[in-house]
Each structure stands twice: as structure tokens, then as C-alpha cells.
Amino acid sequence: MTYEELLTREALADERFIVMTAENRALVRNIYAHLGNRFIDTGITEQTMIGAAAGLALRGRIPVVHALASFLTMRAFEFVRTDAGIPNLPLKLSSFIPGFLSDGNGPTHQAIEDIALMRGIPNMTVFAPADEDDLLKMLPDIWKYPSPSYVRINTRKTDYAHAPFEIGKAEVIAEGSDVTILTYGLLFEQTLEAVKILKQEGLSVGLINMRSLKPVDEQAILKAAESTMIVTVEDHFLTGGLYTIVAETLLKHQTSAHVVPFALNERWFKPSLVPQVLQHEGFTGKQIAEKILGYTTKAVQPKIAAQEFSE
């Protein structure tokens, strides 16, 4: 099943669904044929799309809106905050090519502050699936949740079969006493690889797919703090993302931990195709593992899949 097939299925089963896009049709190319006038393309107008989605939600609809992550979260920020956040209307934001997924588009398209911005809005919920399987397991609950939601859409395929999803719960992949890696989104695949290498080097390693960033699974973070080191891995600015969430959670519970962040510190990333971006920015599984270890290994980094072409 694909994202579009899932959305079509849910929308056909529930008249409340309206599918909207600000002329970003990559995820919803064929849906008009199924939904007719419940598919609305407002053209390149992220702000108007969000305002109109709020109007539709006032009438009892569940608008699932599509736009590139940077324009959805930044061009339309005040509309999201004011027209969805203040009235707590269930707008469902499907954010396309967030983080490293913007490939070679350049910094205009790099949404690497989106988590920080969206989680700063009262009533907003924030989710970042690890891959397509995770995405499809998460979306039905997210779409039915009565608050606005922001989802970092990630349709990359891995061969990991995820556990069922629950809002506010992380997915514990492995537990370990030396290092626990916390991550979300496409970097999940690289952290799986990093865990493999770290285990080969004799470490006891945990891995958590955070999935639900707001509400966040505080207990999972506190449990991770019992290991010697927490490592956060995210394609986001250091400010306001998972590293910040972990810091806030530890402080709230008066717990200390040794936390090492992998994030973009006060800079945008070098635009290229995803595999080269990860290599250049030091986010491959091998690079993550070796930075944690403090030495190089003979591990071979598996080939990283390029993104399918997308507008």
C-alpha cells in the first residue's frame, strides 16, 4: 500500500476527509479520480490553503493538506498557528520532502526547523515516521486525532517491520546499557546500521524510533537516560528538535544524562542527492557509529537508496 492508496481508502470510507494541496501533487496525483470535488488544489497558495482548510474544518471536515515542508511550515506558519492552532481545528499537515529529503533543492527547501516551529504551537501534534511502513501504520490514528497534526512524510522503504503505533508512544527497537540512540524519520535506517556496528564492537546498544515527537514519550527518554550515553540523531537544526526535547524532558524530571547530538548546528546542509548528503554531513550508519566509538572500523556502509524523483 502507498500513502495515496491509504489516503484514498480512508477518504472513501469517511466523507469528512477533504484532500487539499497547494499544487504539490506528488503524493496525491491520482486521488481526484476517486474523490472528485473532495480534492481541492488551491494553486501555489500555502497560506490560503491553510485558511481554507480551517474553514472546511469549521464545517466538520478533516482536511489533509499537502505542500513542501518548508512552505507549509514557514510561508504558512502564521496561518497554521492562528487558524489551526488557536481554534484547535483538526487540520492534517502532510509535509513533503522535510529534512534531508529535500535532496538537491538547496536551503530554500530545507525544512530543518519544522519540528521546532510546529511543536511550538499549542494544540499541534508532531510526528515523524521512520519509513513507509511506519508512515502507513501511524497515519490512520493521526488523521482521526481531534487536534491539528504535522507529519513529516517519509515514503522511503526499509525492510524493518514496525510495531503498531500509539500516539505519544515511542517504538523501542532495542535496549542497551552503554548507548541508547534516539532518532526519527529517514535517519532511522542509518541508526539501525550504526547499532549493528556498535554491537559488533562489543557495546550494549539501545535504539528508539521516537515517531511521536509531540506528544512525546517521556518515559522512553527517561529509560534511555539509564544508559551511559544518549545519542540523538535527527535531520534538523540542533535548536528545537529532538535534542531540545530530550533536554527539556530530562530537566523537567530533574534527571541528568550524557547526551550527544547529531544535528545541524546553526547551518543548512550541502545540497545534493540523499546518499551523498548523508555521507557529506556525517549521517551514514558507519559515520554515526564511528563517531560514537571514537575510532574507525572495518564495517562496510551499505548502499543508501536515492530518493525517487519527486517535484
Binding site: Q47, T48, M49, G51, A52, G55, R59, F79, P87
Partner: protein, 289 residues
């Protein structure tokens, strides 16, 4: 289809409008309010709720009701006053203006029954109104959606973006009403960001446009009775109005935007409203918000 134009009781409307203006003036003290923009919009808001919109205290949750959105927001005292006069709100509640114990403040909010959506940030409600109008179209409804915009608000690009989308979706169940009082916050619009020829601008965006005297109930009635102005087109009414209408001592004054009058000034302005005399205003002018 030719509709027979109903008649309106103009004398009664004018008398009610005076009462609405009294409410507005009484709110312009102890913290004040945007009195100029409220007085300019008072007649058109009163007309719409009294004569045109299918909205009353018993149908506020009815999906088939008409919708009115106040996008400019500063004119909300005119809405409070209208709600009181039409029985949608308790008169006593107006005394709670700016009270921490109530929700009657400088911008509209949905804690007041009858207010469909909050505003305050300009250029938002045209798109929210589009969403409601789209849903009514999808469901085959006959209800109508009005969005009142300030003329200064038209500086915001999202007003024009919304017009492109309304045109694309042929939203002839949507009416943008511009309170054309010729002023934005601090200046005449034509001296800061000129809007004219406004009729032509809207026409060029695909709308069916009527320009009328926004203080003349007959003109308002004639314009709105012609709804829908043209099949498949966004309706636009440019209501030419006067900022501060009814109070000659503040009419068309750039420095009387937000007003926080003294108690004696309020007494004097209430008499001025009834044509007794001009008020000598000594309160601070132009408190910028």
C-alpha cells in the same frame, strides 16, 4: 430568476443604528476601542444581520445558516452592539468590555455566540470564508458567506491570493464586503498604499462588483438584493464609508483611530451623536496598537 426586492424599514434601521453607535461609543473608554473603524462598519453590519443574513439566536449551530466573518476585526464593537440590539447578546455583557472575567476584547473571538471565527491578523478570513463556501458548494447548500474586509487590510497579499482561488472555484456564494473608509491605521489609504481604482482591481480578479454608499440602507438593500451578482463569480461590495461616522469631531481624522475617551468625553460624544453639539476632545490621540 428575478427576485422581488423586499422592502426595509429604513427609519427603524436608522434608529437601531444610532443605538449600535451608542454602544460603540460607550466601549471607547476605560481602555478604549477602535472606534473609527467600528463606526464606519456599523451600518453595513447592522443591515446584514437585520435584513439579509439567515442568522438568529436559534440557528447559530445550524449548518444551513449564513455565515459572516469579520476579517478586519477592529470593527467588532459594531458587531457587539448589533448583537445586543438583535437579541443575540445580553446588553449587560457590554459592560464587561476588556474585563478579565469575560471575553469581550478588541478583536472577535468565538467565545461570543454568533462570532464564527476569531480575527485580528489581517488577511486571514478571506481564505477561511473560502473554505466554508467551498464546503457549502460541495454539499449543494444554499447558504451564503460574507466576509467583511477593511480597505487597509487589502494591503495584505493573502486577500488577493484568496480572490484568485475564489475565482478559480467560482464561489458565487461568497461575498467580500470592503469597508472603504479611506483610512488605514495612521494614514489615508491613498497617501500610503493607494487602492484605487478598486472596482477595476476586483473586476480584473474575476469578481462581480458593486460600489455603494455603505451608510445608505436603501443602497445596501438594493446591492444585497441582487445576490448573486453574477453566476459563477465572487461577489464584491465596496461600501464607501466614513471613518468615525456619526461623530463629526472624529470623522475622517487620521489621529482618531484607536480612542480611549474620558468619561466626560463619552457623555459629550453621546450627545454629539444625536446632533446636539461638537465635543472638545482633550484625550490622547492615536494610541497605536
Amino acid at each position: 430568476m428575478m427576485m422581488e426586492v423586499s422592502t426595509i424599514d429604513k427609519t427603524k434601521l436608522q434608529a437601531t443604528a444610532l443605538k449600535v453607535r451608542e454602544h460603540i461609543i460607550r466601549m471607547a473608554t476605560d481602555g478604549g476601542c477602535f472606534v473609527g473603524a467600528s463606526l464606519s462598519a456599523a451600518d453595513l453590519i447592522l443591515y446584514l444581520y437585520s435584513e439579509w443574513l439567515n442568522v438568529n439566536k436559534d440557528n447559530l449551530d445550524d449548518p444551513d445558516r449564513d455565515y459572516l466573518f469579520l476579517s478586519k476585526g477592529h470593527d467588532v464593537p459594531a458587531l457587539y452592539g448589533t448583537f445586543v440590539e438583535l437579541g443575540l447578546m445580553d446588553r449587560a455583557r457590554l459592560k464587561n468590555h476588556l474585563s478579565i472575567d469575560d471575553n469581550i476584547y478588541w478583536h472577535p473571538n468565538t467565545k461570543i455566540p454568533g462570532i464564527e471565527f476569531h480575527s485580528g491578523s489581517l488577511g486571514h478570513l478571506p481564505s477561511v470564508a473560502i473554505g466554508v463556501a467551498l464546503d457549502i458548494k460541495i454539499r449543494g447548500g444554499k447558504n451564503r458567506v460574507v466576509c467583511i474586509l477593511g480597505d487597509g487590510e487589502l494591503n495584505e497579499g493573502t486577500c488577493w491570493e484568496a480572490m484568485l482561488v475564489a475565482n478559480a472555484y467560482k464561489l458565487d456564494n461568497l461575498i467580500f464586503v470592503v469597508d472603504r473608509n479611506q483610512f488605514q491605521a495612521n494614514m489615508p489609504t491613498e497617501e500610503l498604499i493607494p487602492l484605487e481604482p478598486l472596482h477595476d482591481k476586483f473586476t480584473a480578479f474575476g469578481a462581480a462588483v458593486k460600489r455603494i454608499d455603505g451608510h445608505d440602507f436603501d443602497a445596501l438593500h438594493e446591492a444585497f438584493s441582487a445576490y448573486p451578482f453574477q453566476q459563477g463569480k465572487l461577489n464584491v461590495v465596496i461600501a464607501d464609508t466614513v471613518r468615525g461616522k456619526g461623530l463629526p469631531s472624529i470623522e475622517r481624522r487620521a489621529d482618531r483611530w484607536f480612542c480611549n475617551f474620558t468619561a466626560p468625553e463619552i457623555d459629550s460624544l453621546l450627545k454629539e451623536l444625536h446632533g446636539e453639539h461638537l465635543t472638545q476632545l482633550t484625550s490622547e490621540t492615536l494610541v497605536v496598537r
